[in-house]
């Protein structure tokens, strides 16, 4: 009985995780520019994959320790990926659609140049 309940919970988590992955794809199609799309792909899909990992533990496909480490890697790497793509998009001048405010552009117009981590390291 207990095993059946855990298996049912695993299947439920797979369905919910798949739903979130589908929603992230829908967000990619519906949202207007690269920056807003990164919110959809970077956050909703990470949440979906975390649910998949929990489901894998419940079903018994993955050890709990390994799932925790994989989840941590995912949570660590996902935002870095979003940041990298968003930063690159801004640097090459891809515009934001319908933005009400841009402090980074305002800072650039005051004459202070943005420096990358690499440039700061070189200066040191």
């Amino acid at each position: 009985m207990k095993e059946e309940l855990v298996a049912a919970l695993g299947i439920l988590l797979v369905v919910v995780g798949t739903s979130f992955s589908v929603i992230s794809v829908v967000g990619y199609l519906r949202l207007p520019d690269v920056y807003t799309r990164l919110h959809a792909t970077g956050k909703v899909s990470v949440f979906g994959i975390v649910l998949f990992l929990i489901a894998a533990v419940a079903i018994g496909a993955v050890d709990a320790g390994r799932a925790v480490v994989l989840g941590l890697f995912l949570v660590l790497a996902g935002p870095v990926l979003s940041h990298s793509i968003g930063s690159a998009a801004y640097r090459i001048g891809i515009p934001m659609r319908g933005a009400v405010r841009d402090d980074l552009a305002a800072r650039g117009s005051t004459g202070r140049e943005e420096t990358t981590a690499g440039e700061q390291a070189e200066e040191r």
């Binding site: 519906r30 919110h39 909703v44 940041h83 968003g86 934001m96 405010r101 841009d102 202070r112």
Partner: protein, 170 residues
């Protein structure tokens, strides 16, 4: 310099063993080799953690991880709801949010945590530690993000030595 290297190599070797779930001699040797190689490439430096502040730091790490986990769940649900709304009410913008941290590691972790938070994504960091953050709701994020960043900075100052408040305001 040997101490931090050995600690990093041991931690990485342990991580390899945990991920592979195999403690045979060949795999342990591979774990030690990989750990030493990656530690050599990373060239870790000592952080000066004293035993006296260790319990406080561990408690701060626990709270920080809980905060991150809460943000992962919250941002997943929040953005999913926004996507499924018939007409998403987007008021996007890039806001300047002071990290409040002096060290580069503190700023990097702040940027990471802010990118996980609902509706926020850091696109640039300047030399003063100001995080330029793309927000889906710029009006709401103005207050929310600053308050949360102050809380994160307090936790990070307990976790990372010499990483307290000190960045200039935007």
């Amino acid at each position: 310099m040997i101490g931090p290297f050995v600690k990093a190599a041991a931690a990485l070797a342990g991580l390899h063993l945990l991920l592979t779930g195999n403690v045979e001699h060949a795999n342990v040797a591979a774990a030690v080799f990989m750990g030493c190689l990656v530690a050599f490439l990373l060239r870790p430096r000592g952080r000066g953690w004293g035993f006296a502040r260790m319990p406080l730091a561990l408690w701060a790490i626990f709270l920080y991880l809980v905060l991150i986990l809460w943000d992962v769940i919250g941002s997943g649900l929040w953005v999913a709801r926004l996507i499924l709304t018939r007409r998403p009410a987007l008021r996007t913008g890039i806001l300047a949010i002071p990290s409040g941290c002096r060290s580069e590691l503190g700023r990097a972790l702040s940027a990471h945590a802010l990118t996980i938070a609902p509706g926020e994504m850091v696109v640039a960091i300047d030399e003063d530690g100001v995080l330029y953050t793309h927000c889906l709701d710029a009006d709401a994020a103005e207050i929310y993000a600053r308050e949360h960043q102050k809380r994160r900075c307090r936790l990070l100052s307990r976790i990372i030595p010499n990483s307290g408040e000190g960045a200039k305001e935007a």
